[in-house]
């Protein structure tokens, strides 16, 4: 997790939860939430659905969050996982597109498999082949497993934050992630 730059100056730093609180009376305060978290949310959605879907759904995440700000409960977790939870629900509505994206990645390298004429290309082919295996495995994962994996890999969320984002027990996060990582290691040709 990267700390927001403002944290260097604690006097000026207003924490997320306080911003949400303030935005209940002054909606403009919510824009600061956007500025702090948009890039991270975008990266997460773009990784799962591609840049064009992310253009739309990242913005939608914040509009949705704004609409739900009255219901945000700091006792149940921080703002960041709350936003990632909303983003994850939006991604779930596009599961077919997500699977298609992985399936497309799985196929693309086929073109290169027989193109190896020197070391650089050989390395590229090996990388492409492994990526194909990886994409195939991503497409196969159950929704819950994929959510946990990608919240960690793309969202940089801690186990605690994943648990908050998905509303699942902390222990479940760890066991799901271990299972998924084992599968991915196999897909990558490891043991």
């Amino acid at each position: 997790m990267t700390a927001p730059p403002e944290v260097a100056d604690p006097a000026r730093w207003v924490d997320d939860a306080a911003l949400i609180e303030q935005s209940r009376a002054d909606p403009d305060r919510f824009a600061s939430i956007y500025d702090r978290h948009f890039h991270a949310i975008y990266r997460y959605i773009a990784g799962r659905l591609g840049a064009q879907a992310a253009d739309d759904l990242s913005a939608e995440t914040f509009v949705t969050a704004f609409g739900k700000r009255e219901r945000f409960d700091p006792a149940r977790g921080a703002v960041r996982p709350w936003l990632f939870g909303i983003a994850t629900n939006l991604v779930a509505q596009h599961r077919r597109d997500e699977i298609r994206r992985y399936r497309a990645m799985e196929r693309v390298p086929a073109e290169h498999v027989h193109h190896d004429h020197d070391d650089a290309i050989d390395a590229r082919v090996a990388a492409a082949g492994r990526q194909g295996e990886l994409a195939r495995e991503l497409a196969r994962l159950s929704r819950g497993d994929r959510d946990v994996l990608l919240l960690v890999a793309l969202g940089d969320l801690s186990y605690e934050e994943v648990a908050q984002a998905m509303g699942i027990p902390f222990g479940t996060v760890g066991s799901r992630l271990n299972r998924v990582r084992k599968k991915l290691r196999l897909a990558l040709g490891g043991s």
Partner: protein, 398 residues
């Protein structure tokens, strides 16, 4: 320990949002905060596409590609559909002249249509431990919509596997005419240490598959350059000046080489550039100017030569450009067939000249490692045939 996590990150990484996207999202949020009626998702989506579409539309207005004629339906063919090199014509052009002429032709031609379509058939011959070769084929279509009201589609079909040549067919019969094969890859020593095994196996089946379609609009794939998929944004950024295009590709190649720690093949220093320019010419929905720039850049590469006329498996005749690819443990040759009239690329292949002693699969001289037959390329008013079971309710767009 975190290898698989970083591999996932690398696989899925996309460029950060543009300033325009960040600003648009912020505006949308403020809009919602204002308590005014929220614009529907659909409206926002089409507004976004309008902005994105300008590039494609601009490209489309000037695009030059011509539909390649004479496309026969794909039928199952054996390994005999190689172009036949015919007698060289008198006073033939040099490779450089052929490429420069192709540049002028693709640059000037005109086109109009609903989709940019690239339909190819790819064939790869692969050696088996049993001592004969098989050929594996795919059909691949990319339908990239010009208008925002249409979806873009990719359609792939596995066309199956068969013995590569009549001689291979005989060997296959002697082996009991199996309908599936196990291909064993040798893993190079260095990599074997990392992955912990010396071979990996792949099973291929003779049966063809059904066409499979997927939407390209979201997370779309517009082709491949150097080590990764190309985004629509990148396609629009490709320089239409030959030198700048070379510099752009070189930068990507260098970056990739640094990331893998690999070095240039001294036997064939321009090989990678040749391959990447070939991709721009045959595989990407670029503007006519960029395609022309790729031809001109290729004309400037040392090592390009020509080999007279050749005819492809669809009966189309063109001029054959070849590029040698020697490397320390073997030699390949790249071939590219260019239509004399239109300058359009018809077909390309990579052939084994001297088998690579380090190859991961058995090789033999004359083997086609990979060939791409370009059946259709250019703008068209046709509609893609999307299998009914793959056109979900959310796909019924436009």
């Amino acid at each position: 320990m975190n290898d698989e996590m970083s591999a996932v990150r690398k696989l899925l990484a996309e460029e950060p949002p543009s300033d325009r996207v960040v600003a648009a999202g912020r505006a949308r949020l403020l809009h919602a905060q204002d308590g005014r009626t929220r614009r529907s998702r659909t409206a926002l989506r089409s507004a976004r596409w309008t902005t994105l579409g300008v590039g494609l539309l601009g490209a489309a207005a000037a695009v030059t590609m011509v539909m390649v004629n004479g496309t026969a339906p794909v039928t199952s063919v054996g390994g005999t559909d190689r172009p036949v090199v015919t007698q060289p014509v008198p006073a033939r052009l040099s490779a450089k002249d052929i490429l420069l002429a192709a540049a002028t032709k693709v640059e000037k031609s005109q086109a109009d249509g609903t989709y940019w379509l690239l339909k190819v058939r790819t064939d790869s011959q692969r050696g088996l431990a049993e001592g004969y070769w098989i050929e594996q084929s795919y059909s691949n279509e990319n339908w990239i919509a010009r208008s925002t009201s249409k979806s873009s589609w990719g359609i792939t079909q596995n066309l199956g596997v068969r013995p590569a040549t009549p001689a291979d067919e005989e060997a296959w019969r002697k082996a009991g005419s199996p309908d599936s094969w196990k291909i064993v890859h040798k893993i190079p020593a260095e990599k074997a240490k990392i992955v912990g095994k010396k071979t990996s196996e792949e099973i291929v089946n003779s049966a063809a598959g059904k066409p499979e379609a997927w939407r390209l609009d979201d997370g779309g794939r517009f082709g491949w350059l150097v080590n990764g998929p190309v985004t629509e944004q990148e396609i629009r950024r490709l320089p239409d000046d030959p030198e700048k295009l070379r510099a752009y590709i070189q930068e990507k190649l260098d970056k990739f080489a640094r990331s893998t720690g690999s070095t240039t093949n001294v036997d064939s220093p321009h090989l990678e550039m040749y391959s990447e320019l070939g991709r721009v010419i045959t595989g990407l929905p670029v503007t006519p100017e960029v395609r022309a720039a790729a031809y001109r850049a290729m004309a400037s590469l040392p090592g390009v030569s020509e080999r007279g006329e050749a005819t492809d498996s669809l009966g189309r005749t063109g001029q054959l450009i070849v590029f040698p690819a020697p490397f320390p443990t073997g030699e390949y040759e790249h071939r590219l067939l260019i239509d004399r009239e239109t300058g359009v690329a018809l077909w390309s292949e990579t052939v084994v000249v001297r088998p690579d002693t380090q190859a991961r699969e058995p090789q033999r001289a004359g083997q086609t490692l990979h060939s791409t037959l370009i059946e259709k390329v250019g703008w068209t008013d046709d509609e893609p045939e999307i299998p009914a079971d793959q056109r979900g309710p959310e796909d019924a767009k436009g």
